[in-house]
């Protein structure tokens, strides 16, 4: 039990650190949209972005929860039905990065990172 108290304490400390550092970034970033369709597919399935820092807006148009997940992109984000959210990603290395919906695992998407001009 003492250990769990410690966990909760650590969480609260972490939360306390959040206040004040929330907005700051995320303006003026190149922004792209990724939609989760009701049939469990992505729109678009291939998303092209420039290398660097960018933002992907996630829109869940289905009536099920979805999870945008990618190990190479270091992101996992759960969206309830009809929920909009976003992720901010930084990648300097051009290439193709797979992502998928963790709740509909057979549907795959690819993030194509183009070299910066």
């Amino acid at each position: 039990m003492r250990r769990l108290h410690r966990v909760i304490a650590a969480v609260l400390i972490g939360l306390a650190g959040l206040v004040g550092m929330a907005p700051a970034q995320a303006d003026e970033l190149p922004t792209f949209t990724l939609t989760f369709k009701p049939d469990g597919t992505f729109e678009p399935a291939r998303l092209e972005v420039p290398a660097g820092r960018f933002k992907i807006e996630l829109i869940n148009e289905s009536n099920e929860p979805v999870e945008f997940e990618s190990i190479p992109l270091r992101k996992e984000k759960v969206l309830g039905p009809g929920v909009k959210s976003f992720v901010v990603i930084t990648i300097s290395r051009p290439g193709e990065y797979p992502f998928f919906d963790d709740f509909h695992q057979n549907v795959k998407g690819t993030l194509v990172v183009k070299p910066k001009e």
């Binding site: 039990m1 250990r3 769990l4 966990v7 909760i8 650590a10 969480v11 972490g14 939360l15 650190g17 959040l18 550092m21 929330a22 099920e64 929860p65 999870e67 990618s70 190990i71 190479p72 270091r74 992101k75 996992e76 984000k77 759960v78 309830g80 039905p81 959210s85 976003f86 992720v87 901010v88 990603i89 930084t90 300097s92 290395r93 290439g95 797979p98 998928f100 709740f103």
Partner: protein, 283 residues
Amino acid sequence: MEQVLFIVWRESVEALLVVGILYTWLRSTPEGARGLKYLWGGVAAGLALAVALALVLLGVSSWLSDEGQEWFQAIMSLAACALVVQMVVWMKKHGRTLKGELESGARSSVASDNWWGLFVLVAIAVAREGSETVVFLYGTVSAGEGGGDMAKLALAGLAGFAVALLTFWLLQLGGKLITWRRFFRVTEILLLLLAGSLLVGGLDHLISLDVLPTIIDPVWDSSWLLSDSTGVGKILADFAGYRALPALISVLLWVAYWIVVWALLRWVGNKAARAPLAARSAS
């Protein structure tokens, strides 16, 4: 989901170890049989306590921002990693003497007819494992608010518990074939690998939050050899923290983790091996 199954299985087996040893012992003596209802009462109280902790933890997600959730996931992953290591170390220290200690503890409870001691012992054992399960599940599933997700999670959890009961039964049956010690040896390694993957997962969140420098990102690209997103690579990613495109900081901290764990276990192992000798020479 395999991760959920494994965790629930493992935590249940641990709680069952405590409950099972006490149960076997209580059943073996007539006066002990009276304590059985305290035993099951302790199990129920422990479960209720674990669920209460779960509700507190789940409530946290609904009022967190995006960045807050990222922090929360990072902290939960790292906390879970620390819990696993702590648990493995604890087992290394006590695994050898656990049965004897439990029995002598229960015997003194019987002697003073203090069944509430037994009740509390079991409740703590179950709540400890239960709350650990909750922390893990939370780290794994994070802000899952939808029905499909919860159903899948519950199913994996139930499956894990069913397999745990089966494992416990098998272990009771074939004590010679798989000893508890060997069982712990194997699961110890699995758990440490899992803790390593929780560490890497937590670090990924910290990198996303820009609080941890990547140093070199990525250090290498092994995705042509083994992708971390499908098949075996995905399993390795979930269970051992494999990354096809790791940041240098993750690699360094992962190596540091294994060095620390190795040193810690060696130290505890030596101490545990020496303790019985010291006790014998003292008497």
